[in-house]
């Protein structure tokens, strides 16, 4: 069944007719031509499709486009993190630290990192946090590694991803 929907992506509104089975990921990639989020598993297991949905990181392969539209949610992809040619600090840090090789998981890693920094800023604990009640999360390497473990990197750039994020977390 097709449905007419509006998606707000990277600050722009898109009106489209979508199959109700279409995931947000497929709508972005196949319908809107935004190939920044990648399809790695289509099962929410790899994180390559991570986008921000109203500021929270989600795997866009597990969200239906019609649901996002009816929520009038704001979608931000890695493409939308950059302002023109000005890259987001996390994007710049990924380049400087060479925190990727093939680049396929990279937009998802970067969006996830931005979302994660927001979560930590709000005091969200992780499974490795010593103190669950504190408002001040110290993003040491262990915290970053734990919080970024929903994003697989088969080239295995983890040892560069953590310092790249760390640099932005503690400027």
């Amino acid at each position: 069944m097709d449905q007419e929907i509006i998606l707000r992506v990277d600050g722009r509104e898109h009106r489209l007719t979508a199959d109700t089975r279409t995931t947000l990921l497929d709508a972005l990639r196949e319908r809107l031509g935004n190939t920044s989020p990648k399809k790695g598993c289509d099962h929410g297991q790899c994180g390559a499709c991570t986008v921000l949905l109203d500021g929270r990181r989600v795997t866009s392969c597990l969200v239906l486009a019609v649901a996002v539209a009816s929520d009038e949610a704001e979608v931000v992809t890695a493409e939308g993190l950059a302002e023109g040619d000005d890259l987001h600090p996390v994007q710049r840090a990924f380049i400087t630290h060479d925190a990727f090789q093939c680049g396929y998981c990279t937009p998802g890693q970067i969006v996830s990192a931005v979302g994660m920094l927001g979560e930590a800023g709000e005091g969200w604990p992780s499974v490795v946090s010593e103190d669950l009640d504190t408002d001040e999360v110290v993003l040491d390497e262990r915290e970053i590694a734990e919080r970024m473990s929903g994003n697989l990197c088969r080239c295995a750039a983890y040892a560069n991803i953590v310092p790249a994020i760390s640099e932005v977390a503690q400027p």
């Binding site: 196949e30 190939t35 598993c41 090789q101 680049g103 396929y104 590694a145 088969r154």
Partner: protein, 710 residues
Amino acid sequence: MTLTNDRVGAVGVPLDRIDGPRKVRGAATYAYEWPLRDPAYLYPLQSSVAVGRITGVDATAALAEPGVLAVLTHLNAPRLAWSGDPEVAVLQSDEVAFRGQFVGAVIADTLETARYAAGLVRMEYDERPPDVRLDTDRDDLHRPRHAAIFGSMEGDLQDGSPADSAVGDLDAELESAAVTLDVTYRTPIHHHNPMEPHTAVAVWNGDDATLYCSSQGVHLTRQLLAGAFGIEAERLQLVSPHVGGAFGSKVYPASYATLALMGAQLAPGRPVKFALTRQQMFAVVGYRPASVQRVRLGADREGRLTAIGHDVVQQTARVKEYAEQTVGATRAMYAAPNRRTTTRVAALDLPVPTIMRGPGESTGMFAIESAMDELASAVGIDPIELRVRNEPRTHPESGLPFSTRELVACLREGARRFGWDGRDPAVRTRREAGWLTGTGVAASIYPSPRLPGSSATIRLDAGGGYTVEIGAADIGTGTWTALTQIAAEALEVTVDDVTLRIGQTSLPGASSAGFSSGINCWGTTIYEAAGRLRARLESEFGGTVPAEGIEASADMPDNPYVSQYAMYSFGAQFAEVRVREDTGEVRVPRLLGVFDVGRVINPKTACSQLIGGMTQGLSMALHEESVVDPRFGHVVNNDFAAYHVASNADVGSVEAHWLEERDPYINPMGSKGLGEVCIVGTAAAIANAVHHATGIRVRDLPITLDKLLS
């Protein structure tokens, strides 16, 4: 006389990745992502039985679904002009050789419709029970003939080497040696699992086709596919500038590319998009075959090896032989006057294995380097010292001198950086808050071969800009950046003066990215073309660029030293592990490697390759295992939830270092391969550290918790 120059230029500079800004915003275009008008979508049908024959197809319901354009099966698939490779020859008969084999496809207006309709196609089979058991007691093990069937190289294994080798008298020496070891190691099936699923997007216009394909080598792929479809190679264009990881699984993108091209023939003029799902990747894009490896060592009381035996039994597929050089590293590693290696394979009703990062070396060196650690314990010698004592002066089998071999320096430098000295060899003696700790070491080796088929063209325009063209691949390896640096050095200009073009068949031919040979082959070829361009500029134009510009082309030149020297990269890897005493959980807080890879083109991207390989080695040591259901012949754990690869939290400190050197005989850059040596030995270093921590010797990968709870 050497090949290597002493130029100092763009090579050796830790340049940021040229494709970095595009990749971090997701703007680098992978195969599925080309903006093509009005695409159709293909969803494959896979056999639900392991062995048998298709006896019936009912596509009525699928064809009745709105938006379905065609259902493709062996009944209506185009007959291929060449079907010599069973992986290329999809849908050419009713035979099923393994579960998950492509038996058809649905092509539809949308992905959702194609996928839904695929579920409506009914297939009936005449099924036979599969035979998927790998063991050394099978009576049908045979000496492999991989190359004889499918390769152009002579030899039995996929690198062209013989299945067996012998020097001296192994059996007699093992009878009389002062110290002997006879142990068997096992490695499971591993799947590459690149993050980008294998993709082929095909469009036909008359007799011409374009294929956007994730490929490690567009020219080799084109050669296979153009032959299969019976068209001149020039009529098929492949485009693959960015590849989302490969690790060997995209060298022969045969079955899915064939299917996409067939599907597109049913929708002329319309692009047909096909990307595998993660689950499908476990059946049709290859994997590292399981192995059973018996290692026998004989030594004197000081640990000097007098005998090395390595007998490998591995599995292959009944439908197509694949056999890798699991014994290859053993032939080159240590001195011993008596030695023998053998390779036998069991042909099973499983999908076709293929090369996977360090094919043969990664599994073979898990066994050999674990055995060396066991020998070190048996004779009471430090494992580094044991390796130093057995360092050969020349290649132990061929007798050729090594072009460069700095294994001992890697071990010494690694020991210094890791803090190895003073290590207490006693096992299961260090405890910290419920964790047993230990350290381990292993050596790494990987050959630096040359593959044929590379050519390059360089154009110089009147404005001083150079365009370098070669059909090379960047599978995450940093080719875009490294070849730009090599071209700049060879042309004696800066990287800003060079525009590189790679990754498509419209460019001069190039060997595939594999065997750690890319930079060696492509760089050598670019160097040659650069030399010709500069000579031409000087001799014909007196050094002044004409208004129309000039160009020069070259094929990869011969290297006379290839037959005179044994060329290998080496390394030493160190691991620190913690094993939780009550649960058996293994953590690896530290990995450190020191490598002998010749001259490093780009320290930044090279380091990423090295730590990436080491981390994949950690993943192989602790996480990865594809479990085959013996009843149905399929991989049970066919997704990322169940096939574990190392995640961020599984990894601690990973450090890679290298010796500053130039190999004088290999190529003008002085660089050896580095993409694979880094995964070789890692699993053994971790297994050895686990033994140091726990006293438990795990000889079958992966090292899971159950194996550490006795």
